[in-house]
Amino acid sequence: MIEYDSAARPPRALEELADLRAHASLLRALVARNIKVRYKRSAFGFLWTMLNPALMLVVVSLAFSRAFAATAPAYPAYLFPGLLLWNFFAQTTTMSGEEMAGSDVWKRVRFPKTALAISTLLTGVFNLALGVLPLILILAIARRPLGIALATLPVTIALTAMFVLGASLILATGALYFADVMPVWSMLLPALMFTAPVLYPAAIVPRSVAPWLRLNPMTLYIEAFRAPLYSNTSPDAWSFALMSAIALATLALGWLLFTRSADDIAYRA
């Protein structure tokens, strides 16, 4: 017999975990929904997902290949991994925030609200995987050096995903209280992209500015993600330690903030 007593509730952050376990099929159903809805009405299916990064890749490569020939030879191979991971970050945080702020399902049905963010994240990971596989194929055809360092990709993706989930939850918490958080975020995102070495090689940044790029956590994840794909090197242990620490801290903060305010949400019209 399931019992509930409002006077004996566990801490919200833990209660949410128990709720997620009780709604095990929800995550799967939501991811299936996201993927189906995305591909249902399009003749080209998942090719649309590839279109945006592919277009960016072509255009940006045309613009910068020569400029960065010395600092980032084979520029498209440098650019593509960064674009993929940045898109994963930008799209997941945006979709999470907008879905959480725009949805009123939870005012009607009781379910763990973090499931919306987690399912958006998993959908993003799925799309990222759909991007990485052709990327590796293209790199192989172009005879870029590829090797055992690729084995670090799943770890890097997992750590990035944890960071992105934390960031999504922090953002969603803000978006639940204030209507202008998501518009401001979509305005900030393009600017933020330029504070990480997505389009340009980190080497061209003046020495006085370079340390500031480190303030954008995505710099770390993008470099670790790109290393095996572009230069067939693994990120060092220090990078992994730092990525893990940032991912855990962000996720913990996001989880606490979000689950703490989730009860208030029903009170906001």
Partner: protein
């Protein structure tokens, strides 16, 4: 009014209050909140005021009252969608609610896919949904549309699908907001039959409705809410009589 609380109650509310703080000059943006922080003024709206109530296992409790009396808020609290401002809520048994019908549905997905999705929102496992899907399809009785996108449905078909999914959930406590209205007469008969099945299994019901006569006929007890407080609670005929008298006098 506060009857001694039985140990086998399915739902127990002790002094439950729900108070909304409504900003007179609502700040919806971060910018406004920062700029005008000091000038916030609020009025308090009390949706539920110190409600103490218990529902026994297998009981059918009807909730009546005017619009804005707190009926839906009461259901929302029991469904744990809304966390009360104060008071204690205890529930024994799994809870499912038919407070609204449409949330969780996606227009691009088929009826079948939406059934799985809504089942997942309601906490039903995928394996369970596999077992149920045929009976859901039969109950909804919308023919080929079951595999067509929801956006092609009429309003009535959406309601039938939603009710079919929700009615298939096996919960110990069912919370129903009947103000929704569920389809044509034939479908209503089917819904009533399904509810009778649930009742025979010992499911506890809490039903909000404007159809006072029907509640009087089917419920074990009726609670009359007025401005967030319990005005009367007990025998259906008595409470409905008092309610009707009050309606006429105003």
């Amino acid at each position: 009014m506060t009857s001694p609380i039985a140990h086998d109650a399915a739902v127990r509310l002790d002094g439950i209050s729900v108070r909304y703080r409504i900003a007179l000059d609502p700040h919806v943006t971060l910018k406004e909140s920062i700029v005008r922080w000091r000038r916030r003024r609020f009025v308090e709206h009390v949706a539920l005021d110190d409600v103490t109530l218990e529902v026994a296992h297998g009981e059918m409790l009807g909730v009546i009252g005017r619009n804005g009396a707190g009926k839906t808020t009461l259901l929302n609290v029991m469904a744990r969608v809304l966390q009360p401002t104060s008071g204690r809520l205890r529930m024994r048994g799994s809870v499912s609610s038919i407070i609204d019908l449409l949330s969780g549905f996606h227009p691009e997905l088929s009826g079948r896919e939406n059934a799985y999705l809504r089942g997942a929102f309601l906490g039903v496992s995928r394996a369970r949904m596999h077992e149920r899907i045929e009976s859901i399809e039969a109950f909804a009785d919308i023919g080929r549309f079951f595999d067509a996108p929801l956006r092609t449905y009429s309003a009535g078909m959406i309601v039938r699908l939603a009710f079919a999914v929700t009615a298939s959930v096996e919960a110990d406590i069912l919370l129903i907001d009947e103000a929704l209205g569920v389809g044509d007469a034939e479908f209503q008969t089917k819904c009533a039959a399904r509810m009778a099945e649930h009742r025979a299994r010992g499911v506890t019901f809490v039903i909000v409705s404007h159809d006072v006569a029907r509640l009087q006929a089917s419920c074990d007890r009726i609670v009359w809410l007025d401005q967030g407080q319990i005005r009367a609670l007990g025998d259906p005929v008595e409470v409905v009589g008092q309610y009707a008298a009050a309606q006429h006098s105003t």
